[in-house]
């Protein structure tokens, strides 16, 4: 079972647009990530987002290649500073692969918690649009499977 943790793409500032949708660069980055997932032949069974426009937009672009273009579903408990338990428990109980699109610091803490049991136990370098793939073994332990980010797809 895999858990894909995604930081939304770069968004406009509050001053530019109070709803903070994706910026043009943010959208281009997320499209690159969607292409990467397509080339890598990756699909998921569930695609959720925090409900904030920048996360929803990111999720719906990624959905084009990993979830048959279906509209991603809003899930509670994915806000930037929410408690990790909701997603953690959902992932532990999941029967298939889940992709969750949200925010920092939530996503970084979630990676650390899965890998070490502690929110500050390990550091992975997120950036807007980055995807971290964790896999749970049959023994129930989580391990980092791969991680990719837009800045690593500069010259495709």
């Amino acid at each position: 079972m895999k858990l894909y943790l995604v930081q939304h793409g770069e968004a406009l500032s509050k001053d530019e647009n109070p709803k903070r949708p994706l910026s043009k660069k943010g959208l281009a980055d997320v499209v690159k990530m969607a292409e990467f997932l397509f080339e890598a032949d990756i699909a998921v069974d569930e695609l959720v987002h925090s409900g904030k426009p920048r996360a929803e937009e990111t999720a719906n672009v990624l959905s084009k290649t990993v979830w048959l273009g279906k509209a991603a579903v809003q899930m509670d408990g994915l806000g930037p500073n929410d408690d990790l338990d909701h997603l953690y428990n959902a992932a532990e109980a999941a029967g298939g692969d889940i992709m969750a699109v949200g925010h920092l610091p939530f996503m970084a803490k979630m990676v650390a918690r899965c890998l070490t049991g502690r929110e500050d136990g390990a550091a992975v370098a997120f950036e807007p649009g980055a995807i971290v793939c964790l896999e749970r073994t049959e023994e129930g332990a989580w391990a980092l499977n791969w991680m990719q980010k837009p800045s690593m797809l500069v010259a495709v």
């Binding site: 890998l115 991680m147 690593m152 495709v156």
Partner: protein, 162 residues
């Protein structure tokens, strides 16, 4: 400084473990990965490998793509049974971007140790041909994972042995 930890590609079977070379599939995987790094305009100043042939061959392929003119170095202690703490001490002394080609469980334990101080934390799932890129953590002690990819992700759809 970036540390690229690479597990060798899939190898042929053979009577002498140290002499086993990459299989055709292993070479394809490593070449795809090395070309992917080159396409991202990555280059390194140092390439080291273990004393085993499959790691040397992996290092040669990476060097050809992302370390032109750099002489690859053989180094004991990167074998499957290598000492992770000694390696971490060595890595702390490096100031230039370095590719290290070695084996499991050593590479996974090295990554776990650099990130958490515990070699047996089991943080990473390291398939053959995987590249893990670490850098010192700018916000704290130790190292952070910058990115991590395996050949299947840059080479396309699943194949029989994936």
């Amino acid at each position: 400084m970036r540390l690229y930890l690479v597990r060798h590609g899939k190898a042929e079977f053979g009577p002498e473990d140290a002499d086993r070379l990459l299989s055709p599939r292993g070479r394809t995987d490593i070449e795809a990965m090395a070309q992917h790094l080159r396409a991202q305009e990555i280059s390194v100043a140092r390439v080291v490998h273990s004393t085993l042939a499959r790691a040397r061959e992996t290092a040669e392929i990476f060097a050809a793509q992302i370390a032109p003119g750099v002489e690859i170095q053989e180094r004991g202690g990167l074998e499957p049974w290598g000492n992770v703490k000694s390696f971490a001490k060595l890595a702390e002394t490096w100031t230039e971007d370095t590719v290290v080609c070695g084996h499991e469980p050593f590479m996974g334990e090295a990554a776990s140790y650099l990130m958490t101080g515990n070699a047996h934390a089991g943080l990473v799932d390291v398939k053959t041909g995987t590249v893990m890129t670490l850098a010192r953590n700018p916000y704290g002690d130790g190292w952070q994972m910058r990115w991590m990819l395996k050949p299947r992700l840059v080479r396309g759809p699943k194949m029989v042995e994936d």
